[in-house]
């Protein structure tokens, strides 16, 4: 059984139709799992369901063997699941340091040590620590968002399109940071549009189509699968 597991999840927004149906995603500590798929495939929805932002109609979410399907997102965060939304993922009016401090509010222990370790992971944040996040570039903001999420010492980090709207160079840099995070024994799940690049750093990947698992496998297998390439990677 995987460390973090969403099994046969069916969910939708409010009374609307199901966006994901019987969708399963698992992740272990120290691996990167990419969720890919065309627009409207339910990638973000699957991730939000695992965080508890929307109710499951059926299926379950377990963390380290414990069923957490019924508890609310805040309590899941306390249990070690961290989430970086696609948009509005930083406190734009606050400074870099304050963003990090808030990320650490839920955890016990010295804030100072944690902030230092985030600074060593993202050196640019140390340089800009007193700046208001709203004034930073897109790539730097994403680092703040990652840093904030890591402040709570998570065992699972979920990223919703971490490279949306940043240049290719910055994208590579962000992916390098994500690999560094994975090496600290964190389970990383990310939804990505830049499918090829995402798969090249992922241990495993899922391709969702209309809310269901269509393909899954190791990053390289998916990259080489002719059907995935034709229908989805566009090459």
């Amino acid at each position: 059984m995987a460390y973090f597991e969403g099994a046969k999840m069916t969910a939708g927004y409010g009374d609307g139709p199901d966006i994901i149906s019987s969708c399963s995603i698992t992740a272990n500590r120290g691996e990167i799992v990419a969720i890919l798929g065309p627009n409207g495939a339910g990638k973000s929805t699957a991730m939000k369901a695992m965080l508890g932002l929307l109710k499951l109609k059926s299926g379950s979410v377990t963390l380290n063997g414990e069923d957490i399907s019924k508890i609310n997102p805040q309590d899941r965060v306390k249990k070690g699941i961290s989430f970086v939304p696609q948009t509005r993922n930083v406190f734009a009016e606050l400074t870099v340091r304050e963003n990090l401090e808030i990320g650490g509010f839920l955890t016990e222990g010295s804030l100072e040590n944690k902030i230092e370790s985030i600074y060593s992971l993202f050196p640019i944040l140390s340089e800009k620590k007193s700046q208001v996040v709203g004034q930073l570039s897109g790539g730097q903001r994403q680092q703040v968002a990652l840093g904030r999420a890591l402040m709570s010492d998570p065992s699972v980090l979920m990223l919703d399109e971490p490279t949306a709207g940043v240049s290719p160079i910055v994208m590579d840099e962000l992916f390098e940071h994500i690999i560094k995070v994975k090496k600290t024994n964190v389970a990383v799940i990310m939804v990505e549009q830049n499918a090829k690049q995402a798969l090249s750093i992922s241990d495993r990947g899922y391709v969702l189509v209309t809310g269901q698992n269509k393909f899954e496998g190791s990053g390289n297998d998916l990259l080489e699968d002719p059907e995935v390439r034709r229908s989805f990677l566009g090459a």
Partner: protein, 336 residues
């Protein structure tokens, strides 16, 4: 010598009153801006909440005077402020629990909140009418002046004097203390940071484990402190007329919007901008000018740009101009 006299006239009749009035507006404007930033609505009950808090201070002042408690040269009202604040906070929390929280849970749009606050305003006015009545009350005791015009003239030998009322000095000093503590709290403490975070990005604040109920509670507590102190200072300086506070809402809202609504420091400065504008526009400059011009050029008219009866037109004009030209205010607040 004439030049010095001119400066002193201007200082005495515009700068000192504007600093005091600006402080009172600033406290109200920070109240408006905090509620807007955290609870996301324009609170039309602001003026009457300030009046409500002041009412307790007035009643307690009379009670303390009857018991013979006092602060000597300082007004007894200062002693009653902590108790009045407590009552005010209780009232606000009660209103929040029975009225606003219902709409918060329903995630009502801000306009609906604003309309609900109008309802709260009417209820608050009615309560004030029942408890203390609409008449004018003076509750200032202790020493009235710090510097009297006659003393100043004797001291300096100038033709013009400076009057510093104790209420003016108290207003400015108390405001600076309260506002400094509040900014320290907002910027340097964990709770203050949570409040700003919640105001900036509610969803992310929830994901970071910030408890919205606690943020709302703290906001009302700060609002209660600001409303009561602002109201009492205004009442001490002028007199306690319960329904004048309603009229003060226009300059208070203008101050909050000029400073950039949602930005407490902007609201603080906005209070002084409005106060100085109002007083400079409605001041009669005849005496000031007559010191500067040779005798035969002395003006006949009062040289007043606008009668004091129209002072609210100044706030209103500033409000309209700011909304047209720079809707986000001097300091970038939330654009409304």
């Amino acid at each position: 010598m004439d030049f010095l006299n001119a400066i002193i006239v201007l200082f005495n009749f515009t700068v000192i009153p504007a600093l005091a009035y600006g402080s009172q507006l600033a406290l109200g404007a920070i109240f408006v801006t905090l509620i807007y930033a955290v609870l996301r609505f324009a609170n039309f009950a602001t003026g009457d909440m300030m009046s409500f808090g002041t009412m307790f201070a007035v009643i307690l002042t009379y009670y303390f005077q009857s018991l013979g408690f006092g602060l000597g040269v300082l007004p007894t009202a200062l002693l009653t402020i902590p108790f009045a604040i407590l009552m005010m906070i209780l009232y606000m929390l009660m209103i929040d629990k029975f009225v606003f929280s219902y709409y918060r849970v329903k995630k009502s749009p801000p306009v609906q909140f604003a309309m609900v606050s109008v309802g709260v305003m009417f209820v608050t006015q009615a309560l004030i009418r029942i408890i203390i009545g609409p008449s004018d009350r003076r509750f200032l005791d202790g020493e009235k002046f710090i510097i009297k015009a006659t003393e100043f003239k004797e001291m300096t030998g100038l033709a013009e004097g400076i009057t510093l009322k104790s209420t003016q000095a108290i207003t400015i000093i108390v405001t600076l203390i309260v506002v400094s503590i509040m900014f320290w709290f907002l910027n340097r403490t964990k709770t203050g940071t949570s409040m700003r975070a919640y105001s900036d990005n509610e969803d992310l604040a929830l994901l970071s484990g910030i408890d919205p109920k606690r943020v709302v509670l703290i906001t009302w507590v700060i609002a209660g402190i600001l409303a009561t102190i602002g109201g009492v200072l205004y009442g001490l300086d002028k007199s306690y007329r319960p329904f004048v506070y309603f009229n003060n809402m226009l300059p208070i809202f203008a101050a909050a919007i000029v400073g950039g609504i949602g930005n407490p420091f902007g609201a603080f400065l906005g209070g002084y901008v409005i106060a100085f504008a109002e007083i400079f526009v409605t001041y009669a400059y005849k005496r000031f000018i007559s010191y500067l011009l040779p005798e035969h050029l002395e003006p006949d008219s009062l040289l007043q740009l606008l009668s004091t009866d129209y002072k609210f037109a100044v706030s209103f004009s500033i409000l309209v101009i700011v909304l047209l030209i720079r809707p986000s205010g001097i300091f970038k607040g939330k654009v409304i």
